[in-house]
Symmetry: D2
Subunit: 322 residues, 4 copies
Amino acid sequence: MKKIKTAIIGAAGYTGGELLRLLLHHPACDLVYVHSNSQKGKKVTEVHPDLIGDTELVFTDKVKTEGIEAVFLGLPHGETKGFLENHTFSTDTVIIDLSTDFRDESNGFVYGLPEVNKHKIKSSTKIANPGCFATGIQLALIPAVAKGWVKDTVQISGITGSTGAGKKLADTSHFSYRTGNMSVYKLFTHQHLKEIKQTFGQLFAEFNQEILFVPYRGNFSRGIWITAYFPFEGDLDDARKVYKDFYHDAPFTHVSDQDIDMKQAVNTNKCILHLQKEKGQLVIYSAIDNLLKGASGQAVQNFNIAFGLEETAGLHLKSIAF
Amino acid sequence: MKKIKTAIIGAAGYTGGELLRLLLHHPACDLVYVHSNSQKGKKVTEVHPDLIGDTELVFTDKVKTEGIEAVFLGLPHGETKGFLENHTFSTDTVIIDLSTDFRDESNGFVYGLPEVNKHKIKSSTKIANPGCFATGIQLALIPAVAKGWVKDTVQISGITGSTGAGKKLADTSHFSYRTGNMSVYKLFTHQHLKEIKQTFGQLFAEFNQEILFVPYRGNFSRGIWITAYFPFEGDLDDARKVYKDFYHDAPFTHVSDQDIDMKQAVNTNKCILHLQKEKGQLVIYSAIDNLLKGASGQAVQNFNIAFGLEETAGLHLKSIAF
Amino acid sequence: MKKIKTAIIGAAGYTGGELLRLLLHHPACDLVYVHSNSQKGKKVTEVHPDLIGDTELVFTDKVKTEGIEAVFLGLPHGETKGFLENHTFSTDTVIIDLSTDFRDESNGFVYGLPEVNKHKIKSSTKIANPGCFATGIQLALIPAVAKGWVKDTVQISGITGSTGAGKKLADTSHFSYRTGNMSVYKLFTHQHLKEIKQTFGQLFAEFNQEILFVPYRGNFSRGIWITAYFPFEGDLDDARKVYKDFYHDAPFTHVSDQDIDMKQAVNTNKCILHLQKEKGQLVIYSAIDNLLKGASGQAVQNFNIAFGLEETAGLHLKSIAF
Amino acid sequence: MKKIKTAIIGAAGYTGGELLRLLLHHPACDLVYVHSNSQKGKKVTEVHPDLIGDTELVFTDKVKTEGIEAVFLGLPHGETKGFLENHTFSTDTVIIDLSTDFRDESNGFVYGLPEVNKHKIKSSTKIANPGCFATGIQLALIPAVAKGWVKDTVQISGITGSTGAGKKLADTSHFSYRTGNMSVYKLFTHQHLKEIKQTFGQLFAEFNQEILFVPYRGNFSRGIWITAYFPFEGDLDDARKVYKDFYHDAPFTHVSDQDIDMKQAVNTNKCILHLQKEKGQLVIYSAIDNLLKGASGQAVQNFNIAFGLEETAGLHLKSIAF
């Protein structure tokens, strides 16, 4: 198989590390270089020591554009735009941006949620990879929104692992604080609500319901759990069928008939859903790994789609399970 | 100080152990005997080894009623009624039941939530100690309910530590399952809703709003976190004032002006509250220790009230903090 | 590629689940059936729900031997012998046993530690897969033992995740007990010492040093950490070189020049080692995943070797990293 | 009871917070002021929010010496000496220093390990409070050292909670790194070995054995576990008796006849010990809370002794237990 010449820009952080973990063993990827300003000159295995034995790559702070067929951008939010203005890739180069900068589909970017936009992604060279909470929440609600079922406020509680807040040290990611603890942040105002509403509006033009989302800091490093519900007059079995049909072709998004727990999805690119109906509400649970389906795994899924590869290439990941 | 002759029935479990930890050092308590059918003949320190150095008591399966001035009942739910039929305590004996059996205030029991019923508790000899989730949720909402502010459905997400499920082994309390995990149980149907609605109805006769409560299994051993909200047209500052006024005389229930986290309350008898207003909702966070303010600590608080002691006697507990 | 017809016996437990996770995506494996007495008739995804979307297999309690080219035995310790007496596989069938039963190389079994016995494994059809602690400890010490460096007692502390104790409920794997806790078990008498000493004796005939091994129950679900040391007069750089040379051809066992931590190896088949010299002692740290390099991953590695496949086939696993 | 006028210098960190938690409810303590340069002007409850309802104190950066009868120094290591040169307390003022600066008993300080030095502490006004690992290790070994039993190298593995490393943010206390992880630091060279050897030399003049101590970073916030052993020809029952006799008058140090686990001691001022004999070694386990018996709790114990109070005053702490 001819391999795709690939670069990672900003590869020293958590999502950059996950990209490395995935791409180093991806059957169709030739990782040409990995870029980091902060870690230039260091071996990749110094920064991501779990990769020992997998690579001899060294971080560079040089951005080579020539001959690069795919580039993943793992820059801090707000820096991608400036980066792309200063570095001109070929118009054929597939650019997959993990920041929030182009999730509004500005500058020709497509919103990279394959369950909704697979066809657009396939024919695009600019893909804005969704946010982690945004992915977990959208996959929980999209089939219902598309059917026009959501006619009232949506109530959501979501819990994220500490890796969602990045590698940077912070009081709320100090182990002594976070272990055995719970707390809420950005009540009802999480920045991912913007991309969620954008998608819902594209799926169902008249969608304008309130979404009340309580984001929790979880006492674990990886994973996102979402509980979402809204008043629903329909039948649970029908709802399950609609969800299963909607995700019929989605290789990573699965509707379970049994109760689920978050770790089923951790360290995989899966989104696992379960539906209940109680007290007149349709309740949907959604579990993902925030760094995989919520970031780097979905980015590789988009890479696969954009290059016409098997959508699951390099993404048959073993769950942590326990 | 003349000490109160006290017994614990069913002292081998988690709440029984907490009662022991509290009562052994309580300044007005003379712990006459501790009862357990399963552990009879064993030293208390064999079953609760952290109590080494604190007691030489041995579990008995004999129930002595004579001369007992206070008895704590830590029997499994459903067994208290039968127990009291078979064992007749003096009509002066203060009975504090930690099970669900008399929380409906049947058989002359008073619902032992001091923030609401202090006067009734003071003059009662039969006290039904509230449930853990019930305590956290009620303290989050009572001032608002009493003011008639709750005119629509209340949305609640609550997360509990594993000790809430007791000492018994279960798949969902297996360490390999629960660590780093999240899941939901008893969606919208948790048994504590019954006592919550009873109290709300007593405080505000026409209260009949729906309460949609999502209970989570948390990845920690102790603590309960509650996020509750409902549409509210009033002003946040006014709401905070109402809450502070309502709990002015409550020595353990505090309204914080800053963001809170759950561990602030863990290993104490406190309930720590914080209020926000966002998107037209009044949001109340509530943090307690499920085994203390949610069970054994509140039981001792009720004991203090019933015997006219300082309400905080034996309950100046050091928080775990980290 | 012609695929190898494979069965798993006893596939409902932790190691059985890991085998399923690995073999379902193994490029050379055709999983013909999975056996479990306790779960017969249930879908694999009911018992291992993280496998949703990966398989439609159903557990059977029938043991088919005909046409099976490879069989993994995940039976409880002590039951393998009886099983093999009652079920006769073809003499060509590769049997990989994960129990302790044949680790003494009785009945024609080879001890399946590839770093030592790769050639024997390659030509064998009966492989006794090593224990988890045994793997972590042996890989920490083998190069030193083989060189005759170990002339005095070896001191070892080792910490294991809760999955090492299996799926069965137990007081010491109750979440409320284990979270945030530490304790020691089987002090100096862990059953894996037997296989460790056997290997050491094979590598260096006169080896008869005492091994004082303190096994800890760790507050995590996956992983083993080993710290081993003994008096050593040689030079650290030389020791590192000897270790690197020894493991030169081992695709999963790596000697790091930097400090290591356990999670670098978790959810991979790697063993990551690091050496220090201090106070006249050569100190070796070793990190593995107890369910992978310590059990099912090594079993698949042995399968690969026995069938002449690439040793890493199906084992390019993404570490959990965080 | 006349209360002792007390100050805390450097009260914004972890040990300062613990001192506050203890002293605010101490029956003989009048907390006159709490000092912090970094937090001056802030309410204590802003920095230690779990203390809500317990105090209205505000941090000051003014050091008042007049009329202060007891002062606890929680300054960074190395800063106490300079502080005491710049601020002159009355010669009657009891100074309890939690830093390492005077643990060598320079400048008239007494090493504040009550199990060894109670009489010296009672008549002293300058007390150097022991280190956390130092406390756990010394209490494990002192009776044996005093008896002259330790005639060979002592092997120790010790595991500490993250609070041992303080409030400061660091890579190794990032939640994403530390949760579910294990690692070793300061191999064989931990700074507490110095004070340990000093005490051992005082107890048994000819003590000069090597102590090989492997310190682990534990995956929990509070607690220290120590496993220590050395060759021992005596009898286990005799050893237990010697230990029990030695600690007969120590109100917090207990020798258990059963297996122990670390959480038995967490959130208490206890040190819980257990002895085993195996393979010719006497093995002692020791469990403490690093912030209590390992720091602030022991400081209050020293305060009690120095002022002739009940040694346990203010220290009947409820264990976390789970």
